[in-house]
């Protein structure tokens, strides 16, 4: 019985680390993978998702619906950012980084001025999962499973839609894609919006578990970067592999050495993985 409990404990913890890393990283990974740019305001996109989810929830929309609202709001916001800002700096990785860093300063401060230090909280739904002496937050399990669901959804978008095909073509060879009639500007616009939707959904999913503050994005940004960098440019396999392998490191490390141990292990593992695989996990799965 004790063995079953330990295994459950490990699995639920793994699922929850995996879920956090994957959700935090997926939106960023889509944008980085397809467009080759880093959205430094990614944490604030998550924050916008969480805030709009909370507003929608406060207006009486059930949580699932509210999270969708959060995702769509963030997506719409991403669309605007892309049109006003990002499209002027395709292929300028560092410039995008600085510009989106500026954007993150603006967003954090604007939200603080508009909404103050903290914001309405959403109760954690679904109650407690109980098995013998073991209990865990049901919502965290759902969160991990939802992360898997989002991977499946993202996979479907990239393989089953025209946008997805064009995005992958543009990612592999932008000039060739254009020469074959792919409007890469439009593809990038949709990609940024899609990545923003994913970040917003992540924010909405995190909202019940955390405290909404204007600076909450910074809690996820390191996790997101680490996942994306370890994953590399392959959006799905890379990000999934990164979230899973980092989760597998963080779970025992934080069990054995505490929360700090887990975080240090995360950063050290990242450094080592990049040393061994300079292209991240994608470097292994894509050999071209």
């Amino acid at each position: 019985m004790a063995v079953v409990e330990s295994i459950l404990r490990f699995l639920v913890l793994l699922l929850s680390f995996f879920g956090t890393l994957a959700l935090a990283g997926l939106g960023l990974a889509v944008i980085f993978g397809i467009m080759g740019i880093i959205n430094f305001a990614h944490g604030e996109f998550i924050m916008i998702g969480a805030y709009s989810t909370s507003i929608a929830y406060g207006a009486g929309i059930p949580l699932a619906g509210a999270i969708v609202v959060g995702g769509l709001t963030t997506g719409a916001f991403g669309l605007v950012v892309e049109r006003l800002l990002i499209r002027h700096m395709y292929d300028r990785l560092i410039d995008t980084l600085v510009a989106t860093w500026g954007l993150s300063l603006i967003l954090t401060q604007a939200v603080q001025i508009q909404f103050g230090g903290t914001f309405g909280s959403i109760p954690v739904p679904f109650g407690t999962f109980q098995y013998a002496g073991f209990s865990a937050s049901m919502y965290k399990i759902v969160l991990g499973l939802t992360a898997l669901g989002l991977f499946a959804g993202t996979y479907a978008v990239f393989t089953q839609t025209t946008y997805g095909l064009q995005a992958r073509a543009a990612m592999q060879n932008k000039e060739m894609a254009r020469s074959l009639g792919v409007d890469t500007g439009r593809t990038y616009m949709l990609t940024f919006a899609f990545g923003s939707v994913l970040s917003g959904i992540a924010g909405g999913l995190f909202a019940p578990l955390t405290v909404l503050t204007p600076t909450m994005g910074s809690e996820y940004i390191v996790e997101a970067f680490v996942t994306v960098i370890v994953g590399g440019t392959n959006v799905l396999i890379g990000t999934f592999g990164a979230a899973l392998s980092l989760g597998l490191i963080q779970t025992p490390a934080s069990q054995l050495f505490g929360t700090l141990g887990g975080r240090v292990a995360l950063l050290v593992t990242t450094i080592l993985i990049i040393r061994v695989l300079p292209e991240g996990i994608s470097g292994v799965v894509t050999s071209d």
């Binding site: 600085v98 500026g102 001025i113 950063l267």
Partner: protein, 365 residues
């Protein structure tokens, strides 16, 4: 007869200082430069100790900006963790300074230690990265991760002492000695004005020194690495070694600036290695113009003083303003403000002989 050597010496000096790799090669520029430097040196007579003290720190930041401009702007190594080395230098200076001030009476050893420790640490990291084929964005994230890990560790150092220095965790190291001049028993601690002069002198020397470096043969090789690493390698250069040298030397310069900052404030704390601190120098260099030296200098000074000024307004709009500046500059002046201003000015005056930027493409990480 007597002044025959004069102009010749100046010409030789200009020959060293000038070249395609730096902005400002005209006689007019040097007159302007002398005016600015002259003003820097009479400034203490025109203002109060507060302004001097603050400006001293701006000068320190400007040295940090220069170090990043060389490693990132000129060599193309996007070191996102330059403040890790700044912080390492500051902490080393603090620890060695506090421990030795009673023994040696001065801070010379502490300064030296700060530079040596940062050069060694960065060489270690650089070896790990450059000899491990790590490039571009991955260098950026790796260096950032190192800075953030440093922050995590330093925050935990409550009641930890090294030598005579208490690291103090979040509260930082206090009681760091101010800079001293002279050596051994003859060391004199510097007051606000003297510190100002010393740091100003160091800044001018750093600027001119880097100009000589960048316009030398070595500087052209660094640029070649930035433009096309693989081709530079095929031309027979040991790119990894050259990158390692550039990375460690600029890190050492950052560590040196860190030591000056610690001495300036008699204080250093772990926030220097945080995410915000790490991004600030990146922003100076981008806003100023990353393949110039003068741009990051001006931007560091301007942005730091604007930021201080805004905080005296007491409002919470500082970050909105700064954020908007970054966004707009990147949007409308991708090469940075200073190159844009210079280009505009040249257009108007028709003065085009300075440098030809047509064949330098954008610096990629």
């Amino acid at each position: 007869m007597t002044d025959a050597g004069g102009p010749g010496a100046i010409a030789r000096l200009r020959d060293l200082l000038e070249g395609q790799n730096t902005l400002g090669n005209s006689t007019r520029f040097w007159y302007g430069f002398l005016v600015v430097v002259g003003f820097m040196f009479v400034y203490p007579f025109l203002t109060n100790p507060f302004v001097l003290k603050v400006n001293t720190d701006y000068f320190v930041w400007m040295i940090l900006a220069l170090s990043l401009a060389v490693v990132w702007g000129y060599t193309g190594i996007f070191n996102f963790g330059q403040t890790a080395f700044f912080g390492l230098g500051a902490y080393t200076f603090g620890i060695v300074g506090i421990t030795l001030i009673e023994v040696t009476g001065g801070t010379n050893v502490a300064i030296l230690a700060a530079v040596v420790v940062t050069v060694l640490a960065s060489a270690l990291l650089g070896y790990f990265m450059f000899y491990g084929r790590i490039r571009g964005l991955y260098v950026a994230i790796l260096t950032l991760a190192v800075a953030l890990t440093g922050n995590l560790i330093l925050v935990r150092t409550t009641n930890t002492t090294i030598g005579a220095a208490e690291l103090g965790g979040n509260n930082g190291v206090t009681g760091i000695p101010s800079l001293t001049l002279g050596g051994g028993p003859l060391s004199v601690p510097l007051g606000i004005t003297a510190q100002y002069y010393l740091v100003a002198l160091l800044l001018v020397a750093t600027y001119l020194g880097l100009r000589i470096l960048l316009n030398s043969y070595y500087g052209y090789v660094l640029l070649a690495i930035r433009e096309d690493e693989d081709r530079t390698r095929m031309l027979g250069y040991d790119v990894r070694k050259l990158k390692l040298i550039a990375f460690s030397l600029t890190a050492g310069l950052a560590g040196f600036a860190g030591a000056l900052h610690a001495a300036w404030g008699n204080f250093i704390d772990p926030t220097v290695m945080g995410l915000t601190a790490a991004s600030v120098p990146i922003i100076w260099v981008t806003v100023g113009g990353r393949d110039t030296l003068i741009g990051p200098l001006v931007a560091a000074y301007a942005l730091q003083s604007i930021s201080t000024k805004l905080s005296t307004v007491g409002s919470g709009y500082t970050n909105i303003f700064l954020g908007a500046v970054f966004v707009l500059v990147v949007l409308f002046f991708p090469d940075g403000l200073i190159p844009a201003i210079v280009a505009r000015w040249r257009e108007r005056t028709g003065d085009g002989h300075d440098i030809d930027r047509s064949n330098t493409t954008e610096a990629e990480a």
